[in-house]
Symmetry: C2
Subunit: 334 residues, 2 copies
Amino acid sequence: MSKRKRPDISSLKEGVLAGNRVMLSRAITLAESKLETDRNLAEKLMDELMPYTGKSFRLGVTGVPGVGKSTFITRFGKKLIEEGYKLAILAIDPSSPTTGGSILGDKTRMGDLATHPQVYIRPSATGGTLGGISATTRECSLICEAAGYDFIIIETVGVGQSEVGVRHMVDAFLLLLLPGSGDELQGIKKGIMEMADIIVVNKSDGVNATQARETRQAYSRALKLFPPKPHNFPTKVLTCSSLSGQGTGKIWKELSDFWRNTLDSGYMKQERSRQRVLWAKSHIKELMEYYFYGHPRVKEELPGLLLQVEDGKLSSLSAARKLIDMFFNTSIHG
Amino acid sequence: MSKRKRPDISSLKEGVLAGNRVMLSRAITLAESKLETDRNLAEKLMDELMPYTGKSFRLGVTGVPGVGKSTFITRFGKKLIEEGYKLAILAIDPSSPTTGGSILGDKTRMGDLATHPQVYIRPSATGGTLGGISATTRECSLICEAAGYDFIIIETVGVGQSEVGVRHMVDAFLLLLLPGSGDELQGIKKGIMEMADIIVVNKSDGVNATQARETRQAYSRALKLFPPKPHNFPTKVLTCSSLSGQGTGKIWKELSDFWRNTLDSGYMKQERSRQRVLWAKSHIKELMEYYFYGHPRVKEELPGLLLQVEDGKLSSLSAARKLIDMFFNTSIHG
């Protein structure tokens, strides 16, 4: 944002609420900014938009690279549009370290969905110091909600830690699998299976169809060994062909059942409250680290002290204490 | 420590270095104390003892409740004593919320090992605000090293997050399994299997012997799907009867091979340096949280602000910012 005119919060707010795409993009860019002045503005904007959020359904989609997340989201997205939803797709793409690099990539991968008036696609900036990947993505999803997008899909890569962060910002988590391979071979961590509210065996077409059914059965059996979820909605395994569209209707039915069920039972409200408190604590931690590691004295002394720790000349505890004392004795605000 | 006379650092240091058990226990109690004055003394003591640490081998032992960790450690401990080692056993026991509560328990469970002159057994205090479970255990193990214990066993419970913390304070991690049950049934998370440097199928006696061999083979096959460890020492699966002692010789041979191998390759030195830096950063985080959540204004305002966040009246980001500002504007040192 530094090279552009500083955005005006009230015009951003109005633009977002009116569903203006240019203003929506500018609001997201502001939320992704690492400049402290932008962060302050972003916080004000988030407060202004808060009352207009919360009406959407938030779905996380994960799976190993090659499982076909983009084609699945494209196909399933079309179903959602038919059902009348306005859809925002946020993709966490760690292969692209800078914002924008993969916008074109996503838009190309998602074909005609990208230009549909009911759809907004945005890759997430990665590697933010203040806020981190997940926190920024969460803010983006809230801004999209305020802009009237009532179905939010957050795509993760399925190989790292990002799933855990995403789990705490969505209402349901969908795990995509390939037909005919075991847990180990798919590189899926057991923890990710436990997080899933719905599992979909993708590429269930042509020669894969039989294998896909077997995979579905194997995973259905494996899920019986897991304890029930707090929402008590049983995790189903379904098959799908993103190529032909077979299965998307069933997936939509399952998800809309989940949505209605967790809304009626009060679980969704309760879970979202829990998530908000969790994110507040996560922001506190991030802000503390931001100020600590950005503190001039700490920055100057940290490498030398850690080297002494590495060499065993200073205990880990003493190094920590020394740095903490430096930080508080010459704290940023006084 | 508050009710006793304040310990004198230099006499504690001398006592620990002389291998005096009473002084060793008092030093550990000091390290476990949550009082800030004690923490300062403990840090000084740790610095004094640092040059006398680092010569031991540190082994983590984990497994689900009922797998027989105590009987295994008792049996394997006897082997270590025969080999001439002085053995310290630190047990993390989350079922006992107060220090001391389970000392008798451990000593009873470990039979005549508990009274052996070459053995020191100590349960770890749990639930420390400052330092946490793992950090305190790490300090205790260093104090034991300074006291001349050259083999340290840290027992974890195998069901929670404590394994990850323990993994970063030991040289090798041993996972105990029961014969004849699959991964899911044993409740072992895949991540814990990945952490293991050696896997032992316990209770391999009587009617279980055949099943134990089958379990060993199944896990050996499963391990082939995992990527190689950074130390390049292959993870073996062995069987053991803690009842008869069968298998302990092989386990000792495997562990001493591991020890020699990682010592010669320089891996152990490098890994311990990495662990020390990790702990320094972890201590920084803990100290920051300690001061933040203990700050009078923060303590007063936190519940109300989090309630607003829960109710969706305030964004997570703004609540965090407000609390951070309160903290720094009236910081503890000024």
